[in-house]
């Protein structure tokens, strides 16, 4: 293992940062998911308050805008009783010319315990984890087109809850896999969980050229790609894909790849439909499917809070043990 995958683990294989799902073992992912489930009440909602991070300071460093991810990290930190500071860097010192490195050193001096980082440059959380003092945990909340590991973990949690062990499942990811950090992290996570059949479905302009290397089969036709799958993961389509001539129109995308009740029939009965949100109705998904019984999109959001609580608790606990 190299780079982010290596840096996030201690020599004993414990999680001290979460930078990527690449290289995470099935045992470690399972431990994370079990911890996350322990934060859910018997009604399936995240517990309102746990004292695990009392006296700890969590700093949300969002160099790129985000509402949902940031909110769920906020809620997760509060539920663990941490003090939370949220810095919207676009409006703070970075726009006055301070470098990321100097911003970081300043925050370090304020005795933070955990950084949650979202950045438009792939590798930025790795850079931060590499440069901060050893006892600060770094959680990647999305970096460029590289990784979004907490999203992948909440997806795995949702899959496991509804369909069981991914080692027995077929999973199809539909849409803009090429530009998606969500897709990359989910693929690595599924591979870690020994999922035997991972597929990517989309036109040539939206699929990366080296899927084989990731252990993923590429399909351009959705009827072939969905045949017999247990899990369908839809990705959000950005408007800029049309202006950069990767796609003709949203309408054409929906006509070829939009998830409709008819298309759902290609998959295995009872297959679940997931989406990292926010969904575009009539582009990636029809109203009927979005509001239908097979969609588990809102469940993903709920699981997101529990997963982020688990990741925070685990990384801070590892860091504490490293200090003592």
């Amino acid at each position: 293992m190299h780079g982010p995958a290596a840096l996030q683990l201690t020599s004993e294989g414990r999680l001290k940062h979460l930078l990527t799902t690449e290289g995470l073992s099935k045992a470690l992912i399972t431990e994370l998911l079990n911890t996350a489930e322990s934060f859910l009440s018997s009604q399936g909602q995240p517990v309102k308050k746990a004292p695990l991070l009392r006296g700890k300071t969590v700093v949300n460093l969002f160099f790129e805008n985000s509402t949902r991810t940031r909110t769920t990290f906020d809620i997760a930190a509060h539920r663990l009783s941490a003090d939370v500071v949220t810095l919207d860097i676009r409006t703070s010192s970075a726009s006055k010319g301070e470098t990321l490195f100097d911003t970081l050193k300043n925050l370090e001096a304020m005795q933070a315990d955990l950084f949650v980082v979202r950045h438009s440059a792939g590798g930025a959380p790795f850079f931060i984890a590499n440069r901060v003092t050893p006892n600060i945990a770094v959680i990647n909340a999305g970096d460029g087109t590289h990784a979004h590991p907490t999203q992948a973990l909440l997806d795995l949690m949702t899959i496991r809850k509804h369909k069981g062990d991914p080692a027995n499942l077929s999973v199809a990811i539909v849409g803009d896999v090429k530009h998606s950090r969500v897709a990359r992290s989910l693929i690595h996570g599924l591979r870690g969980m020994k999922c035997p059949d991972i597929r990517a479905i989309g036109p040539g302009t939206l699929l990366p050229g080296d899927l084989d290397h990731l252990g993923v089969r590429a399909f351009h036709r959705i009827d072939h790609g969905l045949a017999g799958v247990d899990v369908i993961v839809l990705l959000r389509l950005q408007k800029e894909r049309m202006t950069s001539a990767l796609l003709p129109s949203e309408r054409e995308f929906f006509n070829l790849y939009g998830m409709t009740e008819d298309r759902l029939k290609y998959s295995r009965p009872g297959a679940i439909v997931m989406h990292p949100g926010p969904i575009n109705r009539g582009v990636e998904i029809s109203n009927e499917v979005a509001d239908g019984p097979q969609a588990v999109i809102l469940d993903q959001v709920t699981n997101g809070i529990a997963v982020r609580m688990a990741v925070m608790a685990m990384t801070i606990s590892t860091q504490q043990d490293l200090v003592s």
């Binding site: 190299h2 780079g3 470098t99 990321l100 440059a121 792939g122 590289h146 990366p208 050229g209 290397h213």
Partner: protein, 419 residues
Amino acid sequence: MSLLIEHIKIHSPGGPLNNQTAIGIDQGLFVDPNRLQSPDRLDGKGQHLIPGLIDLRAHLREPGLEHKGTIGSETLAAVRGGITTVLAMPNTDPVIDSPAAVRLVLERAEKIGFCRVLPTAMLTLGGKGLQLSEMAALVDAGCVALAQGSRPFGSQKIEYHALKYAKSLGVTVILDPEAPDFAGGCAHAGYVGTGLGLPLNSPLSEVLGLGTDLELIEATGVRAHISRLTTATAVDRIREAKARGLPISCDVSLAHLLYTETALVNLDPVFHLERPLRTEADRKALINGLIDGTIDAIVTDHTPHESGAKLAPFPETETGMSIIEATLNLLLTLDQNDELPFDISLQAMTGNPAKLFQKPGFGQIAFGLSADCVLYDSTKPTHIDSSHWISAGHNSPIFGQELPGTITGVWVAGKQVQN
């Protein structure tokens, strides 16, 4: 004062003195040792003597970028790498696009430089790719070639005019093939860059750019040197173009001979280069291109930076590596790894570049030629230690490594500049 270097093995492939065991230096020239009268004597103790290396692409940073390096620091670093002649790239601040700037570089080199500095200048004013620079005046002032410093031309038509004008003056142009539409990205569009989520650069960027360059070279007949090939396809296109008789030569950078896209796995910004590291198949094709003569020269593309330039997430760092100081050691490394025979890499950094830029006085050890040479011990490795690094740029991937060969003396025009 004359000097006799004896008990050496002269390594100057194809030259008249190859394998001789002694050489004389007098009045700045190589001379017959038997003609020296009571010279100083240097016992080479069985070491190798090679012609001083010629680097057709390095950034010496003056004027304007002295915080990254100076002609003083970078030419001393060059000499420590066995280099006695450097083509200085024109993308300084301001860029070299006026006779005064060319003269400034020459004067600084004369005053504080340790090796020969051959200035290049911009083909277009400000390097902006829009208006032609005063090429005749630039050549008069002493620039040896005109380049665009890897900046794009405003249009294909402007490139065509620049090449046509250069042709009418008989000037050599240096081109960095890149299709503007495909430019950008900091990693090769392969599995490593994709996996790391880095902005990608397709090989098409180089191949399409080269296609345009070759057509315009053919149309204008200009003498052109294509700099920094990175892809196997480009090597094929150059091979075909040379077979057609186009007046071209080309080079490859040391980094592209040594490393591939897999060097990026740790996101070390040292490997963030202007032209990305590509696949192992590309690297092999570049080496084979040198072996079969398609590629004429090896360049260092030495690009020193201050530490802050690399202190950011990978895609946001500045491009380039500081590597000139270990040039000879790295050529010997490629030989030791059975990848590129030293005879070929030596030719690609001596005889070939000397010929390309009509400097027949350098690049060879022969009586009557300028005494530019390097004495080195092939049995003693050099430990590359950042605390002994002379270049102002510490953006180097080789710190802590032990590389073959130790340079014990460098002479430029008969004057010892390094021992």
